[in-house]
Point group: C2
Chain length 204, copies 2
DNA sequence: AAATTAAATAAACAGTGTTCATTATATTTG
DNA sequence: CAAATATAATGAACACTGTTTATTTAATTT
């Protein structure tokens, strides 16, 4: 049945076309500027057609979120290669913030949006790319704690501490708060804070 | 001229009425559910009337943001009273996170929104309540660093480190990420991370 | 009472996500 | 090949959003 196959391929192709248009609009105009109607316009279909391929806008945003994680993982491959766990954490933190600062729209979708996952029950599956990242960080924390003899500390809490700090930093930068604290110094503030933070955790 | 005065008072009263309605809607339906038309409905005026008292929606959001800071300052009075600088920082951090978790809508307006202040030039004035808070934290950091003999560290960077961590934590909680990491454990995760963070900075 | 000033509004514009009955296009059957 | 059926695409509507402008209503001054 090469016919049914072709049908399915065509359906998948249009789905991909929609996602590709969505991605392009996201990169050009941000999440604010991304609308079903704009997607429909750029691929020259009617808005209603989109709903034959996606349940709603949230589903599209969710797919974009997963694209974002793929992109971020590429960003992090270098850091992942580092053998020393402590250094690896540092490199991961650097890469995380670098990605966040450079790709605000992707970052928001991945870490600030509750749109792509409304129901907490579904969250575990819907955010498994993010969860995988966190678990990897936690295991690296465990390794680092072992090598530095930092007992009496849960690796997941340490991971959360690291995550909170970089997440907070990226968001403060995104919303211009760092620009208010010190004008035209955002990048330097980020880098200094990051270094201080690592020093204070892995003292010395 | 008691007449012009009454006029002005009436104008101020309607302005206050609008803000009060806006506040009530914000608390009931969040920032998403807050619209000019809903404000107009609840005070029984037409939407266009709102624009005789406010330039645009952003100006209303900005006023709400300032209300939020007043509320937050009340939340922090106890912490401010603490004499010991290190303990004070700890109490401020606790109060900050508590406020953030309990008042998501206010918090978003104050720390996540770039709507109430679009132009960076105007930011300094438009976010002076936030800036005042940061400056106070920084000066407390200076005091704490002095008492703990932590030299070779800028107080503003330490303040940023603290702020990033609590800001990140609050946002991760708001967007359900902590719920994903460990279900029904958000409050405990926050509290543990916060404690670990203070320990690591002001080591033991 | 008439003229002027100030306040409030109706209506429109250009958007948004989403749904559904209708139309157009393929595919399958007689 | 033509008719019946299944699939895909859409136009139009609904209920919203922020904002502007010409018009109407109300209050004040002459």
């Amino acid at each position: 049945m090469g016919l049914a196959e072709r049908k399915e391929r065509e359906k998948a192709e249009l789905r991909e076309l929609i996602l590709d248009a969505a991605k392009r609009i996201l990169l050009k105009s941000g999440q604010e500027g991304l609308s079903i109607r704009k997607i429909a316009n750029t691929i020259e279909y009617s808005p209603a057609t989109i709903y034959l391929y996606f349940k709603d806008k949230d589903e599209i945003l969710h797919e974009l979120m997963e694209m974002g994680f793929t992109l971020m993982n590429k960003f992090m491959t270098k850091a992942y290669e580092e053998k020393d766990a402590v250094k690896r954490i540092y490199l991961i933190g650097k890469a995380y913030v670098e990605f966040g600062l450079e790709h605000k729209d992707w970052y928001d979708l991945m870490f600030n949006s509750d749109k792509p996952m409304k129901h907490i029950e579904k969250c575990m599956e819907d955010w498994d790319a993010g969860m995988a990242m966190f678990n990897y960080l936690a295991s690296t924390c465990k390794e680092a704690m072992l090598s530095l003899q930092m007992h009496a500390l849960e690796e997941r809490i340490l991971a959360l501490q690291l995550w909170s700090c970089v997440h907070g930093l990226v968001n403060l930068a995104h919303t211009e708060r760092l620009e208010i604290v010190e004008r035209n110094q955002t990048k330097e503030l980020v880098s200094k804070t990051l270094d201080t933070m690592f020093l204070s955790i892995f003292h010395k």
